[in-house]
Symmetry: C2
Subunit: 431 residues, 2 copies
């Protein structure tokens, strides 16, 4: 919400800056840095602004200290602080900055990562409850253009936060009225230690342009709606990656190296494959059943596929609902009970569809085993898929780490066990 | 960005409205409507504002016409228009509204669903390039509180859009200067037929508070940053659901009935299961190989699991990159070539890990078959997982419909084919 051109002396050419930004998203950081070097500094600064902080850090690492410092100076303090937490050279990079910017940044960096203290902007205008509306408007007129959030400003009284005031309300009020008369006192401030995603969602829900960050009674920063949007986008990107068992790339797809793509996916893949050894062990244990009724093997991919799919659906639904705060950990029993019933219904439907054809093509006993297993894996899938994210949340973890590969592997192993136990029972009994 | 309390006579109690909203997210629409009925109308109106339009429509359907009309009157026009497209009774509901609101809504509803024309707000203040800054400020002071977006306003000259102006810039300018002198002419307007997600992302990228919607040269509405945030959240919810092969619930998890949960998941699940019959057919075709080497069956879940997981990772990565505009359809060859190499590396790694143990426990021939298949399914997974979303995008569809179940089932069937072809070759050759 800074005005265009804030903190730069020359206006960036918006079209050219946008073209440069697009190019940066399609090349690796080394090539990207070359592009930044040859572009006019104001365009380079504007293009850099929309990138992930990790990507920004990798680009700046490739630049000479003079160019880097120039670009650092152009960044808003909150963005600079986020970016500096992505590099080991933060101290060196800070040294080149003007004293006030260095100080601003140091204050932000002292707060924990992903906290409101890191994302807030420390450059805001605070009004006094006792000053007149006319004086307040004059201060809005005269403040520097890089001061953000003048459309909704915090109001203090004796250094203590008392409420927020909208520029629009100020304009509508008589000039000699005190600011206190238009202050909105019904605003719950943020704390610098609040989670940044929670803060962003509060801005989304309340439709506030700005929320104040209060520490020890005093306002130490503000969080603006455009920062909130960016945070939510980052969190969405993270959740989307985690849902498939990958870690977030932290940069545009084409700007990520092959090695980075591999690294982002390898952990879960190898972990899931290692856990998949369990499926080999289960099958090996039932090898005699397999030898006796080879037809049992035919349905393994179908059964495990259905269980894995339904498990992934349940997990995705619950993780998403938790992310947007529709569900919390104490809903666990209610959610699992709902999901079990959903599993019974969906599994039952699949079983009804499968029963006839299997009986006709193979035999009734096999149909019984497959159908019982279908219902069972669907229940296992929905129950585990919904319970695990909530359980991880209860343990204080990020529910999004419960990814589809995790659930799929779990359903694979337990589903096979159930399948062959049914088979053993049905085929032995009916012999 | 309406000021709190706009278009209501009484201020809602924010705390109570929020508590009501939370209750609405946890009960079905019938119970929710009962809660709305017993709450003070201004709290009910405020609580309703943050819900999905589909959920809003289901709640309003349960109310009497008087209460419903009162709540409809309190909704911002864009939100009302979105909600009305979710009910069949739109015409009846509109009839009860005051003439100007009815007209506003009718104008919005004429635009296609999910277009900018539907999401824009038609109640905005437009300045004239030739009026003085002082007059413009007076108009800001006097306009009704339900007029949105006064912090960044469109400027027209002879009915034609010429640029945008910030309230802040107006305040800093001399009162007798023409508005034209502070107008920012470097703003690309939206068209009413633009896709709403594209518009929302442009607001995110440009950090504009407001973007103008221009039709035939004239401004017919504005899109505000808070509307953009809401749209992006809706789209994210949709993509998250689709990624697991479910359709979006369009309401909070606990407010959705069991039947709705089942319905949102059943289509893909049954489709994937039906496609899964292919895996049964492939296995049946190779039944003699299976009977001869029963150990082949043991590795089926492991192999298909790895292929499915890596495919889901690739799909999720590419769908996400397309959603945030980092990738477009013409990147297809480049992306698929990258993903094939990623598949080779990840599959190769898994093969190296698997080769030793399988040789030791079983035999070298089986190890060769499993390892070759591992590399193959990883390549199939990454190639299909990345190519399909891009191909769907090229055909004009939503890439997000290429869900994990789809890729998993595809990899299952092709993976089995490959596995047994390798097996046939290796075991026959080596006999």
């Amino acid at each position: 919400m800074t005005e265009p051109g804030s903190s730069t002396t020359t206006e960036p050419q918006r079209g050219e800056a946008e073209a440069l930004r697009r190019k940066l998203t399609a090349v690796d950081p080394v090539k990207g840095a070359a592009l930044l070097r040859s572009a006019p500094i104001e365009n380079a600064g504007a293009a850099l602004r929309d990138l992930d902080s990790n990507h920004q850090a990798r680009l700046l690492e490739q630049l000479g200290s003079q160019k880097r410092t120039a670009l650092l100076t152009m960044m808003p303090p909150d963005e600079r602080a986020r970016m500096l937490s992505e590099t080991d050279s933060a101290a060196t990079w800070l040294d080149g900055l003007p004293a006030d910017q260095r100080e601003d940044t140091r204050r932000l960096v002292q707060h924990p990562p992903e906290s409101v203290g890191r994302m807030m902007t420390p450059r805001f205008l605070e009004l006094s409850a006792t000053e007149s509306v006319g004086d307040a408007l004059d201060r809005v007129r005269c403040c520097e253009t890089d001061v953000e959030a003048v459309y909704r400003m915090p109001v203090e009284d004796n250094g203590h936060f008392v409420g927020m005031v909208s520029l629009r309300e100020l304009l509508r009020e008589r000039d000699d009225a005190p600011v206190a008369s238009v202050a909105d006192r019904d605003v719950e401030p943020l704390s610098p230690t609040d989670d940044q995603e929670v803060a962003a969602r509060r801005i989304l829900t309340t439709e506030e342009l700005t929320l104040p960050v209060v520490h020890g009674g005093a306002v130490i920063g503000v969080v603006t709606i455009d920062d909130a949007m960016e945070i939510l986008q980052l969190e969405e990107a993270e959740d989307a990656a985690l849902s498939s068992g990958a870690s977030p790339l932290r940069r545009p797809y084409l700007a990520a190296s092959l090695f980075r793509l591999v690294r982002s996916r390898v952990t879960w893949l190898v972990a899931a494959a290692a856990a998949g050894v369990l499926t080999v062990r289960v099958l090996a244990y039932f090898e005699s059943e397999l030898e006796e009724v080879v037809a049992l093997a035919l349905f393994i991919p179908l059964l495990l596929g259905a269980g894995g799919n339904i498990g992934a659906q349940a997990t995705t639904t619950v993780v998403r609902a938790m992310a947007v705060d529709d569900l919390c950990v104490r809903d666990l029993p209610r959610v699992v009970w709902r999901e079990i019933r959903v599993g019974v219904m969906l599994g039952g439907l699949l079983a009804v569809l499968a029963a006839g054809p299997i009986t006709l093509v193979y035999e009734a006993r096999l149909a019984i085993v497959v159908c019982l297993t279908l219902v069972s894996v669907c229940i296992i899938g929905t129950a585990a898929g919904s319970a695990l994210p909530l359980a991880v949340g209860r343990l204080g973890g990020d529910p999004a780490v419960v990814s589809a590969p995790f659930i799929t592997t779990f359903v694979d192993a337990t589903g096979l066990l159930v399948y062959f136990l049914y088979a053993r029972t049905v085929f032995e009994v009916s012999v």
